[in-house]
């Protein structure tokens, strides 16, 4: 089967400014996303994870290589059917929850009751049906992030990009949001591309996990988790969970040390 998203030789170099040298931030990266899979990306801070996401989203063009989405090249414009959830709160404080979720549908030519039905479904999926008329300021951070997720789901995207969407939330909320994300992933059948700095989150959620190097970020490992499609956060109890997370950390540790400017220490004698 042909990949839904295909990155070939993708890289990004930010041009020099009067005060800075040119910065090779990312790549080259080759990566194919399978339709319907859950792909997570982990990497040391500053490795270009978010830049990678913005390139796939069409928010910023790559300076080398190309990205294809469903056979079409993405050239600096966000294609329909790709949804993005950002780390920062992107809810619109002047609109209530329903209006927030319906925001992107205004442009569509759907009849009104179809639109209303979609909004209701999305709200139910993220568990916010009881808050349809609340304003974002009345909600917690986790609930606001769910508003943003619902606003993305309502557009029925075939690819959902998430840029550390739970980064600002506490650990328990993050685990529960992870469960909900898995539910939505199964319910929508969309492909999910998740950027996270939490290794356990990546292991718990993804079918495949890409590990990125320090800047300029390249893919240095891709780990298959082989989890069943029906799964939830209780997967952390499995023995493979620890093994996969450990493998991720083993690869990432050296790269993370580079980014904080330490020399890589000699590994202890292998057992």
């Amino acid at each position: 089967m042909k990949a839904q998203v295909a990155l070939s030789n993708v890289g990004k170099t930010f041009p020099a400014s009067p005060t800075t040298a040119p910065l090779h931030a990312l790549g080259p990266i080759d990566l194919e996303l399978r339709r319907g899979e859950f792909f997570a990306v982990v990497g040391p801070s500053g490795c270009g994870k978010s830049t990678l996401l913005e390139i796939i989203a069409g928010l910023t063009p790559p300076t080398q290589g190309s990205v294809e989405f469903e056979g079409r090249t993405i050239a600096g414009e966000a294609p329909d059917s790709i949804g993005v959830v950002f780390q920062e709160d992107a809810s619109l404080p002047w609109l209530d929850v329903t209006e927030n979720v319906a925001f992107g549908l205004r442009r569509s030519k759907l009849p009104k009751d179809e639109r209303d039905a979609r909004v209701r479904d999305a709200l139910r999926l993220v568990g916010l049906s009881d808050f349809a008329t609340s304003y974002p300021a009345q909600l917690s951070g986790g609930m606001r992030q769910r508003v943003c997720i619902a606003r993305t789901l309502v557009m029925q995207p075939r690819l959902i990009l998430l840029d550390e969407p739970f980064g600002a939330l506490d650990q328990q909320t993050r685990l529960l949001m992870g469960d909900e994300l898995l539910l939505m992933w199964r319910a929508t059948g969309a492909t999910v591309f998740l950027i996270t700095h939490a290794l356990d989150e990546a292991t718990m959620l993804a079918d495949r996990i890409g590990v990125m190097s320090a800047r300029p970020g390249r893919l240095i490992d891709v780990v298959e988790t082989n989890w069943p499609r029906e799964r939830d956060s209780r997967i952390v109890e499995r023995s493979e969970f620890g093994a996969i997370t450990a493998r991720l950390w083993k690869t990432l540790r050296e790269e993370s040390l580079k980014t904080i400017g330490r020399a890589v220490p000699k590994p202890a004698a292998d057992a």
Partner: protein, 250 residues
């Protein structure tokens, strides 16, 4: 909160009472000022007689016109300037020093060009208010979180939709600050220019009454202006409060 309101009312009532005593005991003589209770009576008579209706109507409609113009032109100009970086950088010093220039200094020029009609008065009031609108709207647009702009691009909004549905609403509280200033400037512009380049309106009537030692008309009109601007400001502030409460302290 209730107690604070009571204190505030007490201060106002005390000031009026003091004025009343000064007027009645002759500390302030009758030719200078009427005691407040007579001003209130005269204001009632003036409004009931209807002879000021034309002047009041003219002043209010001209103020509203200047205000609407200042808001409309100000918001549109700010939205455009926000996208035209070079033009904005060029004009920034002008905005910064704008209120150091007394617009009224140009009134002879306005009379020569536009005559004594309503137009020069509306123009002066508009010129006073529009820059406050531009500066505050730009200020608000600068503070729109980048993540909202990215969201707009993901939703593939057109530039006009982005402005109308995303950036201007996001800048709402700042725009409202501009509107409150523009209301004050519009009143100042209209009443002030009615004093010097008009043959009608509340400002003109106050000036006319002043020249004729007609305290029974002059003071009630001054009070009327006070009441009108306080009323408008109160309504706006209330509205602002409910909007801000809804948006929370973010």
């Amino acid at each position: 909160m209730k107690r604070l309101l009571a204190y505030r009312l007490a201060v106002i009532a005390g000031a009026i009472a003091l004025l009343e005593i000064f007027c009645l005991t002759g500390v302030i003589d009758k030719i200078t000022m009427q005691p407040p209770h007579l001003i209130a009576r005269d204001l009632y008579r003036l409004l009931a007689s209807g002879k000021m209706n034309g002047a009041i109507w003219k002043t209010l409609t001209n103020t509203l016109l200047a205000l609407v113009l200042a808001i409309g032109v100000g918001v549109v100009a700010a939205a455009l300037l926000h996208r035209l970086r070079a033009l904005r950088d060029t004009l920034d010093p002008l905005f910064a020093t704008y209120y150091a220039v007394p617009v009224f200094a140009f009134y002879p020029f306005f009379i020569v060009v536009f005559g004594l009609g309503d137009l020069p008065q509306i123009l002066i009031a508009f010129m006073l208010g529009v820059v406050a609108m531009i500066v505050n709207t730009l200020n608000g647009l600068d503070r729109v979180p980048p993540v909202l702009l990215k969201t707009g691009r993901i939703m593939r909004l057109t530039p006009i939709d982005t402005a109308l549905r995303l950036t201007l609403p996001a800048a709402g509280p700042y725009i409202l600050t501009g509107v409150k200033l523009a209301v004050a400037y519009a009143f100042i512009g209209i009443i002030g220019s009615e004093f010097i380049l008009s043959r009608g309106g509340i400002g003109y009537e106050i000036n006319f009454a002043y020249n004729n030692f007609d305290n029974a008309t002059m003071y009630p009109l001054i009070v009327l202006i006070l009441l009108a601007s306080i009323a408008i400001n109160t309504v706006l502030t209330r509205w602002e409060k409910t909007l801000l409460a809804r948006r929370g302290a973010r």
